[in-house]
Amino acid sequence: MPNGPVLRLQGITKTYPGVVANDGVDLEVAGGTVRGLLGENGAGKSTLMKVLFGMTRPDAGTIEVEGVERRFRSPADAIAAGIGMVQQHFSLVPDFTVAENLVLGSEPRVRRLFIDRRRAVSEVQALADRYGFRLDAGARVADLAVGARQRVEILKALHRGARILVLDEPTAALAPQEVVELFTVVRSLQAQGCTIILITHKLPEIVANCDEATVLRDGAVVGTRRLEDHERVPGPERDALEADLARLMVGRALPDPPARASTSGGPALSLVGVGDGERVGPLDIEVRAGEIVGVAGVEGNGQTELIELVLGVRRCRSGHIVIAGRDVTRLPVGQRLRQGVAHIAEDRHAAAVASDLSVADNCALGHQDRPPLARSGGRLSASGVQRFAADVVARYGVRTPSLQATVAQLSGGNQQKLVVGREVARRPAVMIAAQPTRGLDVGATAFVHQELVDLRDAGCAVLLVSLDLSEVLAVADRIVVMRGGRIVGEGRPDELDELTVGAWMTGTSEVPA
């Protein structure tokens, strides 16, 4: 039902100390359309959505919903106005059923004291069926796959009366089949008159699914573009469109995708029958020098444990791990690192940086025991640390107020650049890159990919573990697929397509709904 704008943001400005996050953003979204919101990290997407959802108040600007000007003091106000948001991280109670999660806070009662579970289930099931959601209202959320949990989140927003739905990076954690299903859901919502705002930095998703795309850069709208149906078909027109949008986002043309490896050397990392006796293995993986092996898989299928096994953080109960010709199965972390292992952690806050320590201190991590940072007698060279950190910061374009600033003051993308820079500076023989581009924008992602390729070309063995299948397909020279802690498929990217790999990732049977 095309009609006037249901949502109009005018002159939204939000400044934080030192940074203008939103600079007079105007956004008009027509009812019943799907709007894509594109932008690099720090472009102001999140701030804009926080403003829209009442999580932060703008310094200037107005919000109109369905022609009525609104002032949101909290998300509750935004929900009351018919705005729903599905965040990247779900807020569901795992031990509750789908129905219980939905009615939480407004439960149907029996004699005011008891919850009418039967009515809750039937109400929710009716809602799910109305929108054509494949969901069992009586199922426990903990038993659902990620895609199904996301549908629960969407349904929760609808249940609260959302007519404008904001999806923040909805495909980040989904398997390919789940992505397909998500966009089926989006279209059926659209058909029923919902307006959808889709935030993502995956260009193909925008191009395939949105009616219009708005690009933000440096806190301002740099362009809004209608997408025509003929542009969605794969072909030169679509390529040109994607290149256009990418250029708008980054402000410059993107480099070509990196070339594949031509030759590879001897094995640099080999796992033979390796397992931890519970969640992963036994499995065999070999990575040769000058080769990138991509590990694909749905989250929680043993990838984290695999990395911990290779690094020596998790005890290896079976098999052997050989790094650069040396059996390291029984060696502690430090000695493995000295064998030439570097590690880009999948969760940098958990395993890579200390947020309250300075940029300089964090750059030095893992380098502190070698000259020029180390000095004789157990001393640490302050000037060495400073010079080294300055080098990492300059070489990798880490935007930081100073080397003494804490890492918490940096944006996520800059923190990641710091980690990548620090680890590449080890000149590793084996690089374990776990989700190295999670949360990074297009420019930074291309940068990290290029770093990995450069490492490979310099003869490093790279083990790339990623939940983003397109990343694995784009960068790896060889792909292995993990499911249930084991290797279930292997091949070269030019022999494989997303759907084959997707089927390996999720197993032969369908995803449980």
Binding site: A382, A394, S411
Partner: protein, 369 residues
């Protein structure tokens, strides 16, 4: 070696070379730290004023008495420094533990153990001058470190929270030391009940400002400030300690064994606490008296918090608490306010420091992504 395809955007390459030493000395944001320090101390004094009024005295008179008593005379000044010394060393003990991610509430117990062992070595051993006092202090430090080893091992290898174990070991330390100097106890003096024998002259920290009680311990404390700073910021062991305190998992993934560092940190903290007790016994009391410490180890927590756990900050805040402590005598005598009022003030300091943490978190949450 690598081509940078995303060039650094508007980032002037930070200057290499030597970092400003002062920045590390007073924390990363020097001026801000000083302002916060003074602000917190003043806020505590201001809020304490109505409480003093309720207690029936004029707050202005009370504060005048407090500062005259602590800073207004040679004797007052000396007493201030005497009170500062154990607070400073014990404050360093707390702050080293904080840096390593540990909350050592057992400083008081470790201080008692350190004082007892130092007093015993001072009284029983026969050694040449200088050597004797050094050995006595080292013995006190070592004994307290061993005492701290128990919670350290429990924390590192069994995951028992150090707050629980250190608090409990405080009571063990109090009871054990009391028992040892009770009638018939192993270490009790023949002439003085509830104390060890007087330490020999060779083991005494000499007085340095006759006729006051100010002793050489203040110089030891000052040296410990410098050594602690150097250790934390200029050695690899100090770096590991700070990194484990900052993020033990990240440390572990980078080849640092957080368990070993945790044990080292707690023992180092214990050793400093033991030194605080040893200095107090060898410099002021000249023998170990049962419950000689009026709670230095607990005040040290407030000292460390107010000092933002940097060594120089700890020195400044120890001085502040030293002023309160030595001024409290005149506060009671002249203004008629109970000495316990300084406990109220130090409690307020802790409350304001805690509030400050919340405030800072609020401020930093506003920072953009």
């Amino acid at each position: 070696m690598s081509t940078v395809i995303v060039p650094p955007v508007e980032t002037p390459p930070p200057k290499g070379g030597r970092p400003p030493a002062t920045a590390a000395l007073v924390g990363r944001h020097g001026v801000r730290t000083v302002v916060l320090f003074v602000g917190t101390a003043l806020a505590a004094l201001v809020v304490a004023a109505p409480i003093i009024a309720i207690a029936g005295a004029n707050p202005l008179d009370a504060y005048r008495a407090l500062f005259e008593g602590s800073l207004g005379s040679q004797r007052g000044l000396a007493e201030t420094l005497v009170a500062t010394t154990p607070l400073l060393v014990a404050g360093l003990a707390v702050s080293v533990a904080f840096r390593g991610g540990l909350f050592n509430i057992g400083v008081e117990g470790q201080l008692v153990i350190g004082g007892l062992v130092a007093g015993t070595i001072g009284a029983q051993a026969t050694l040449p001058p200088v050597v004797h006092v050094v050995v006595a202090m080292a013995g006190g430090a070592a004994a307290a470190a061993a005492w701290a080893l128990i919670p350290a091992l429990l924390k590192a290898y069994r995951g028992v929270h150090e707050v629980i174990t250190t608090i409990m070991l405080n009571y063990v330390a109090f009871a054990l030391s009391t028992y040892l100097v009770s009638p018939g106890g192993l270490l009790v003096s023949k002439t003085q009940p509830s104390a060890t024998e007087k330490v020999k002259d060779t083991a005494v920290l000499p007085r340095v400002w006759a006729p006051t009680r100010l002793h050489a311990g203040i110089f030891v404390a000052g040296a410990l400030v410098a050594v602690t700073w150097w250790f934390l910021f200029r050695t690899r062991a100090g770096y590991r300690l700070r990194m484990v305190g900052g993020n033990p998992t990240a440390a572990r993934f980078n080849g640092i064994d957080p368990r070993r560092v945790t044990v080292q940190t707690m023992c180092l903290s214990g050793a400093l606490a033991g030194l605080a007790g040893a200095i107090e016994v060898l410099g002021v009391h000249l023998r170990y008296f049962d419950s000689f410490s009026p709670g230095y180890g607990f005040d040290a927590i407030a000292v460390a918090l107010l000092g933002a756990i940097t060594p120089v900050g700890v020195a400044a805040s120890a001085l502040f608490f030293g002023v309160l402590r030595s001024g409290s005598v005149l506060l009671q005598a002249r203004a008629g306010v109970s000495r316990d009022m300084i406990t109220v003030i130090s409690g307020l300091v802790v409350a304001f420091v805690a509030a400050r943490v919340v405030l800072e978190r609020r401020l930093s949450r506003k920072e953009p992504r």
